[in-house]
């Protein structure tokens, strides 16, 4: 690997929901703020579940009803409940980064 994810290169992140326009976009805003506060380089895109199946991502963020099918299929899966709670998302993103060994020092 040429660089460390989130440090030397962007972490590719997808926020997912049913349509890819509303709740996934709200999650994207929250996630972008969280990555900025954590000092982690990330490129966050909002999309719908069916499009996400055909996209590459290092991390996928969504509600359990949408993330379940992606568990164990490559990307780090971060399951959130509250889309506007930065504290919850920060804790869950950090746990996801640690599980993948991508946590920025």
């Amino acid at each position: 690997m040429s660089g460390r994810k989130g440090v030397d290169e962007d972490l590719e992140v997808l926020t997912i929901c049913g349509v890819g326009m509303g709740t996934s976009l709200i999650m994207r805003m929250t996630a972008e703020d969280v990555f900025k506060q954590l000092g982690i380089r990330a490129h966050v895109q909002a999309t719908d579940v069916s499009s996400a199946r055909g996209m590459h991502a290092d991390m996928l963020i969504g509600q359990a009803m949408h993330t379940e099918e992606f568990v164990g299929r490559g990307p780090v899966v971060v399951t959130v409940e509250n889309f506007i709670d930065k504290n919850e998302m920060t804790a869950k993103i950090l746990a996801g980064l640690e599980s993948a060994g991508w946590r920025a020092a």
Binding site: G18, V19, M21, G22, T23, L25, M29, M65, E81
Partner: protein, 153 residues
């Protein structure tokens, strides 16, 4: 200061809205968009069908749902609506039921709403739902949404 897009956004809110179940609540919010001319009647139906198809994920935080459909479902203009329900309803969400504030938006294409939803996310984080719950009249609630669209940037 309001952006060009923000000032053109259709905005409408109602308080003390009766709804017997989640579908009626979603319809009540989406109908405000159709009444404002932002969407067709088909869009109102699609807002309900999308929840049936994809589940109650539109419940974004405790007590708050965000309904919408796709641009091709009959969205003519950017719109933002809200209803504060007279009595809360259950969406079947694992954690955030019951819901008493239902927001709805519409976007004429897949990009026009990005600034609006960003402004909405900021407003929700800053307590918009509680301010809507405390709004005594439709006009007061609509003014709260107008602050959101004025923040669209």
């Amino acid at each position: 200061m309001a952006s060009g897009v923000g000032t053109a956004t259709c905005v409408s809110a109602q308080v003390q809205v009766p709804a017997q179940d989640w579908a009626a609540a979603v319809r009540a919010a989406a109908r405000l968009l159709s009444a404002a001319g932002a969407v067709s009647e088909q869009y109102v139906d699609r807002c309900v069908e999308i929840v049936r198809e994809h589940g109650p994920y539109i419940v974004v935080a405790p007590g708050i749902a965000l309904a919408h459909a796709r641009p091709e479902d009959g969205a003519h203009a950017l719109g933002l609506a809200a209803v504060h329900l007279a009595a809360p309803v259950r969406f079947g969400h694992p954690s955030f039921d019951p819901v008493d504030v239902v927001l709805a938006f519409s976007s004429p294409d897949r990009d026009a709403h990005v600034g609006l939803v960003a402004a909405l996310a900021r407003a929700l984080t800053a307590g918009l739902a509680d301010r809507l719950r405390a709004a005594p009249t439709d006009d007061a609630a609509t003014a709260l949404l107008r602050e959101v669209t004025d923040d669209d940037r």
